[in-house]
Amino acid sequence: MSTHSPAFRLAALAAATLMALPAAAADRVKVGLLSTLSGAGSGLGIDIRDGFQLAVKHAGGKLGGLAAEVIVADDQMSPDAAKQTADRLLKRDKVDFMTGIVFSNIMLAVAPPVFQSRTFYISANAGPSQLAGAQCNPYFFSASYQNDNMHEAVGKTVQARGVKKVALLAPNYPAGKDALAGFKRFYKGEIALETYTPLNQLDYGAELSQIRASGADAVYVFLPGGLGINFIKQFTSTGLNKEMKLFAPGFSADEDVIRAVGEPMVGILNSSQWAHDMDNAANKRFVADFQKEYGRLPTLYAAQGYDAARLIDGAVKTVGGKIEDKAAVRKALEAAKFESVRGEFKFNTNHFPVQDYYLREVVKDGQGRITNKTLGKVFDNHADAYAGDCKMPAETP
């Protein structure tokens, strides 16, 4: 066939037109927000979603000046369902960014297709050690923390308070392993008991009697959402709360758990990279507007959802809306130019934040509300333990 035939020219023209399409600057930015919106972990996903959407609203329905389209989907707390939905978001909806996953086992299941399609993933919660270390990826950014960090902060606190013997409990999944590894990195006393429960277990009767029998002075549990709510209720109903002190990461002592459990929460020490009483302008606006919009105090999940959106907003602004330029977007994300509700925000070389961690205590405040109060800093500019193992590819493939 001659290259001058009309058919060839038509085909070439069509191909050129089609190829030219993506080169035109995008007029909107599509975000796939895949999160846990049903079941025992739904409170966490809902807070991420609400926080994210509040940030979009604050930016006038835009992200970085482009009209924002947020496609919300439920992962049903199941890696299988999450993978299918992620495929739909990536292939059919062709999202530019993904975010929202709560649970680390789901994050690890969804990561390969997301990275393969060269879509940026901005984590609003899950921060598995795998993605912080050897499997770090240029397309993965954590707007939250690395899984170990909050537990390291409590480990240090429990150590500093002279607790001799502690019982540990976490769910049997990647973040549960990370949690207790983090705790033990800074706690040097005796571990009377270390137990892992299935992620869908809601009755802790058997574990509570083991904890009692272990003779520990304190208990440390990492149980997110509904799991933590059930545990603390059952802990109180056995009377163990009078015999030993309960420590928790921010996840298990945040506003969602406090709302459900109430009075028995008072006195629980917990750690977080954020608190609703942190004193900065971005946070004050976030907390006040979140309460106005949704009628409840935000949790750290909501703060992370909000920051994830602000991070995307800042990066898209920096590249002037040219989100097809992946290398430029990556650079802009790495620079993290946005006002975080936790104050300063900067990334380590593995795309996980280097940030301060605080100790909070559940108290009855001046208005008679039961809520968290920040006591002070545990870590300054704290990095995670895995960054050294990360050989981040220098260029976006």
């Binding site: 009697s209 009692r212 029998a213």
Partner: protein
């Protein structure tokens, strides 16, 4: 210290086993008498829990919720039997499985439409939310003791109903030989509708009791239904006594497995390996128990058919 641990785990196992019994009792009678596999049995447990939680939240009283929810679930059970399940008795097991599985899916979707996909919170009655000191230095949650009490009372009532009343005699006759019972003048249809109402009510009691301890959520019936099937296979199909013993056995093995297996693995393999393998092996233990029972007693421990 270990004595207390064993005692506490026995109570935990008893509490869990009795709740399993409430589910298995209805399931096994339906299976035993009508030879009917009902996968929607767990849906009645879920619907019962939702109804009890809603009525309790609306009225502010756990007890009112329990009474209202149990009654409403019994009515739903009767309606289900009259409209749908009745048509499935004469069919083969495959049709029954497909039909009742469809009901299960519709129940899940229906509950999601009415109550949403988030768990519904349910509080235990305030008077029972604290611990009770059973022995010096050993306190146990009052609410779990209450569950044990209710479970034992229901088991006793059911035992008296089945062994001491005319209806119970007909139930036993139906379970061991349906044709003969029918020939002797038992109205099996009517008997079965009544039985289904009782089964549904028992499901609701279990749902309402476990609601504050677990979570009232969509799909809560499925995992516990599998255990209920294990119970009736172990106990012997169609026998109330078998269901009770099977349920207590499964409850005890499940609780003991969660304590002992990680402990044993910890001493043999070290804590890291135990953390990984322990929970996995513990959750298999019930099925190992079932396989062992079926190996030595293929019809279960207390089969009702001749």
């Amino acid at each position: 210290m270990t004595g207390i641990l064993v005692l506490e785990q026995l109570l935990n196992g008893l509490q869990f086993g009795l709740m399993l019994f409430l589910l298995a009792a209805g399931l096994t009678l339906v299976f035993g008498i009508m030879d009917m596999i009902n996968l929607a049995h767990g849906s009645l447990y879920m619907v019962g829990a939702y109804l009890i939680a809603s009525i309790a939240a609306a009225s502010g009283s756990f007890w009112l919720g329990l009474a209202g929810g149990v009654a409403a679930t019994a009515v739903i059970g009767v309606l289900l039997e009259l409209t749908v399940l009745r048509r499935l008795y004469e069919r083969d097991h495959l049709s029954q499985v497909l039909g009742t599985f469809a009901i299960l899916l519709m129940a899940n979707e229906g509950v999601r439409m009415i109550w949403g996909s988030q768990p519904v919170p349910m509080a235990m009655p305030a008077a029972l939310s604290g611990p009770v000191e059973l022995l010096p230095g050993f306190s146990y949650p009052a609410y779990r003791l209450f569950i044990i009490g209710v479970g034992l009372a229901v088991a006793l009532l059911l035992y008296l109903l089945v062994t001491r009343t005319r209806v119970g005699m007909q139930v036993r006759a139906g379970a061991s030989n349906r044709e003969m019972a029918q020939a002797m003048g038992t109205n099996v249809r009517l008997l079965f509708t009544a039985l289904f109402a009782i089964g549904a009510a028992l499901c609701a009691v279990a749902g309402g009791m476990l609601g504050p301890l677990l979570a009232v959520q969509v799909g809560m019936g499925e995992s516990i239904l599998i255990l209920a099937f294990v119970v009736i296979v172990i106990g012997g199909i169609g026998s109330i006594r078998g269901a009770l013993l099977g349920a207590l056995l499964v409850g005890a093995v499940d609780t003991a497995g969660r304590t002992l297996v990680p402990l044993l693995f910890g001493q043999l393999l070290g804590p890291a390996a135990a953390a990984t393998a322990g929970p996995a092996v513990a959750s298999i233990l019930i099925y190992v128990l079932m396989a062992a029972v079926l190996f030595w007693k293929p019809r279960g421990l207390f089969p009702s058919h001749g």
